[in-house]
Subunit: 384 residues, 4 copies
């Protein structure tokens, strides 16, 4: 099969996110890096794109890129938006409307209204808008989802999700401009730690259970008191199937290096997974023993098999999880092109709907926090 | 030094708690098992006590024991109350008033009023009333407390405590009378899982930080819906020095065997400890590396040294933690007898005040849970 | 049942081993500490014994104690020998011949000849001579043995045992008299690290498999070159049922706190256990998943049930393992007294035969080491 | 910089090794897949190569590829040899002689003579011949090497290396042709498990210490007795700086998923690393505490920084370790092209000399095993 053509907005020279996306998209040889507007400084972006081999498809701005690509026969199949957060909405919207599939970095938008607009556009255009909740690409996270879906732990009762690390714990460094913007509402919006990390944990809770968050109550605090936005939050929530949720997120938890993990407890079993050691999934059937499911072992689910690349016992890490999102997108796009159904094991990448729900949850967390933990609807208006 | 004389109420033949206390009290050779009213069936209790070597100090009832011991010159120095929960208050009160030191199993009382009464009696009589939060006896928990007290992690910002296991997760077993009483308010009071396990975690949060819980907000649920009382609770709280608290307790978390653990995050460091692997304490100084403090290593605190018995690398477990409470009590009682100050490293066993605060927290959790997580004062009236 | 009467040789004031044995013997209330010759300085030993409540059964020497106890009706049922290594043989022999059961600290003797003599005496007198390989008392070690015996992993193919720590790694401290004797043949005999730690690992290999070591080849080295005896040894061995053995022991392995562990691989399964986390046993059936067996879980073997005291999830440690040896001995002695069969689940404490085999292995390791790893018979002459 | 041109021999459709090398070579965008003879069936290889975009540089045989590439101005810069083991020598030799740099899969050759010939050719031609000991590419393995080189643990005393798994433990499956060849000398040569896995562990011992193995003694066994070659081996060895070595390798260790790990003990510290959790390195300085070095943390060595791609706390796995070998090669080749010194942090990929030493060690292990563990020279003749 010919490779799909892929483009990128943002990810200029020196950025971390650029190489990560180029790696993720190329890992399986399914996408070819074809076009890009890599820097908001037009000349720099063009020059860097040419160095990366984009030729005349190195554009000076995303607007130019829409124009340039739209008129080509061999236009790109997918564009990744990896620009500053406040520009995601505008760019994503423009590319979708111009008929391109989009993978948008999180957060997809800065407001719920914008999120709803993106969802409506995807509905009307039929274009894919994926959102990069990359941790959902891990093979054993996929397997966890598959196990729950097929009933291995019975009805889910409770989910406990965490994303708590200690990388912003230094008060003497909190006024450093490099990090201060994260906790400044003028730049970061209504939430800091929950919007940055908490929503990964919340998305994962939804992803593995196949349920959506309906309402929530939040306790948010700024442990470093020069911060306006929260650096720690505890969120209790309910999901549409009655599942109870507990979610803790923190950036002041010194000693925790990353801290994304999830535990799911059902009527007949429990599951536990942690991003820092992603190649093991702990499973206990009711009345049985704790057992360790290894990535790559025999007879796992199709969802797991599809997303594992190296043999059992060898560590696989985040870059491959990330690549799995691209692998899903390649399948979904190819299925559209070929007019066939998408492989169900691929059809599980995060979408505009997830981006929208996250945004609604962020707003609900911020509001509940201000109202002493009042229980608020966590859904966007269009889903209420 | 002559051994102190120790007696016990409850802990009859076949009980688990009886041998545990006899082991804990005898481990260091500081107490001699001298008297007891071991069973509510008088004849059985006397017979069993005699078999255990108590002779004529095997009593048929706790009332007889008070009478019998009060008139002896060589009366017991300490009595442990390990009877059913609803009788703790009456027995503890009677022994304190008769001039005996008491170690009471938790919960100390069934109401806050009763708790306040016990505290007042200890004040007026000068007698010790300890409460058996036995996990606070672990050597590295003591060391954690010492590190925090001496400023190793700076001002404490946040505590995350858990006591979540999966041993009551079987819905088909939930109607079994053996376990049902735990979730029945007529027998268990206003709270099940929080009162049973959660208060251990909350006590530990207070113990290691040296701070008391002032207010809290709780989300309580019955995941098994035939239960009236909660089998899972999430409690957010605040402590008197401004510390933020998160506490999760559950009995439906399949795959977790015990699940008591605590994480403390301060301005300049973080600490983490888990009861299932109690011989390691994880410590990270701000800007440094995670390091593993081993029970028994050189140059730990006096509080740790005092409570370690075997050399580094050898596992120490719960029975020795339990014995440390008795070791503390032996020192406190001896200091009273000898009219000297108690060793400060021993003067940290849980007391009536802790039992009272726990009861107030239990009531606050139950009330907050009914009021959608309203923030309530967690302190007993006498401390408000 | 009346308590058995227990005495001790050695374990004077300030020793570590004395309290450990008193704790182990008393933990289950099966033995009463009745007599002792606790110090080679007669006056000190008597005075300390009296302080510990031995009255006129506090003796000034072990010879006096044999005399004194032999003529009593209520003579002690068991004596523990915890004196310096070079005296074990003489004292153990004397007590056995005088008709006492003995628990001897390891090493039982300093030569193979002496070991054979002890074994012969136990045969002729019918008296028990136990040897304190205390790690074999852990509940999950017992369960491991039971699983292997009942065929859970099929025929055993290979055992990998380790006892490697880093507590003698400091070259600048190696000339310190406190530690130097360990590596000095004049005081320690033919072997240092293997004799001190390695034989625990080798005994455990025999204990869990139920097989004896028949021949071995050793590579021994002194990593700190001022030492005459070895501080690191690798031993390959064969067992009487064809099982292959690998055994590494070291005292210079910086970063390892204790390091005793064992892995057993059979035709249909594998098992793994480590002393530092003794409450978990890792088991994988061929073609299945790694599962974690927890101490105290339901439906374990009688051997495990008999040696567990606290409920699942609570840590149990070395002092309780140690106590299990005493618990076994109480049962074995009581069975003799009562003229009945010993509970098979108790009849597994280490014996004179094990002490003898260890001594033969020590000599074989030392000799093989000197002969460039020549394969030598590891059995004592009487078993060849 | 323009990408280097890369070609491949072997790795045809359906192979595992093909995609792994294409991924590793492309991950950093330093190599472009340009030419290949991917299958020994000429038509299939050409067709598959064309599908992968090689155009007229998809060759029918490696001989054709040498001819075709040699005459081009834009000939490939590096060729990877990933054909069946017995063909590595011939192909590698031919490409080196034709002036190409080579990355050869292990084992580089089937005999020591062949290995020496390759080394001589690299010397005379100046061409690079790398050998794919891919585990040496892990970032924290590089850091371990750097720490040892700069003296963080003082003089190295002892290395303990393992590569023991349980994936060939099923006796009922041992006659399956799919696996049987591994233990058949006609196909596998003089050694099975040591040649397959053990040499990875031995290479790692050399890699991190910077020392070569000089002599060894081996105990080799076939636990499954229908096998002619060994499925388990214990190797004791000595290195040229006096370091002691212990190396265990097995394929019957049920319950171990991969099992490559290394421990290094020096005068002033110890280090421990395991491939299954490659993002943590355990380090204890003499007299200090065990600490956990995290991949990606600040202030690591240049060797570590160069080989880390994602931020701290995110798992990195084997595919990225593999890519690091290619990254090194890109730097080494570019340095040659540009006539400058290679970055020392890159100049550490395994080379023909390592492949030769491994082959000599394999022969020595097989011979020592047959001679009851005789100590034999482990060096190839040209280094004796």
């Amino acid at each position: 099969m010919a490779k799909l053509k892929w483009g990128m907005i943002g990810g200029g020279e020196g950025s971390q996110i650029g190489p990560a996306h180029r790696l993720g998209s190329s890992l399986d040889g399914l996408f070819e890096f074809t076009a890009g507007a890599l820097d908001h400084r037009a000349a720099k972006g063009v020059e860097y794109g040419q160095r990366l081999g984009l030729g005349d498809r190195a554009y000076g701005s995303w607007q130019d890129m829409i124009l340039g690509e739209s008129i080509r026969e061999d236009r790109i199949d997918l564009v990744t938006v990896a620009t500053p957060n406040s520009t995601h909405f505008e760019i994503t919207k423009a590319f979708l409307k111009a008929g391109f599939h989009v993978l948008c970095e999180k957060p997809m938008t800065m407001t719920v209204d914008e999120g709803e607009e993106i969802v409506r556009i995807t509905k009307s255009t039929g274009k894919i808008c994926a959102v990069n909740y990359g941790y959902s690409g891990y093979s054993l996270v996929r397997h966890m989802k598959a196990m729950i879906a097929r009933g291995d732990i019975g009805e889910v009762r409770l989910v406990n999700a965490e994303f708590a690390h200690g990388h912003h714990a230094d008060a003497t460094d909190a006024d450093n401009p490099r990090g201060r913007w994260r906790y400044d509402p003028a730049q970061a919006g209504v939430s800091a730690q929950f919007a940055d990390c908490g929503i990964h944990a919340m998305h994962m809770a939804s992803f593995v259970t196949g349920q959506e968050v309906t309402k929530l109550s939040a306790d948010i605090v700024s442990c470093i008191n020069t911060r306006i936005l929260e650096d720690d939050a505890m969120v209790n929530f309910r999901m549409d199937n009655g599942t109870i949720g507990r979610l803790w997120t923190s950036s002041i938890a010194i000693g925790r290096q990353h801290g994304l993990g999830i535990q799911v407890f059902g009527e007949t079993g429990g599951l536990r997974w942690s991003q820092e050691h992603p190649n093991q999934l702990y499973y206990m059937p009711l009345g049985g023993r704790l057992q360790i499911i290894e990535r790559g072992e025999e007879n796992l689910s199709p969802e797991a098999d599809r997303t594992t690349r190296v043999t059992i016992g060898h560590a696989e890490g985040m870059p491959l999880a990330f690549a799995n999102i691209y692998k899903d997108l390649a399948e979904a796009i190819s299925a559209q092109i070929e007019g066939r159904d998408c492989d169900p094991a691929a059809n599980m990448f995060p979408r505009a709907e997830d981006g929208l729900r996250s945004m609604a949850a962020v707003v609900a967390v911020a509001d509940s926090g201000k109202q002493n933990g009042a229980w608020l609807d966590a859904r966007p208006p269009m889903y209420q």
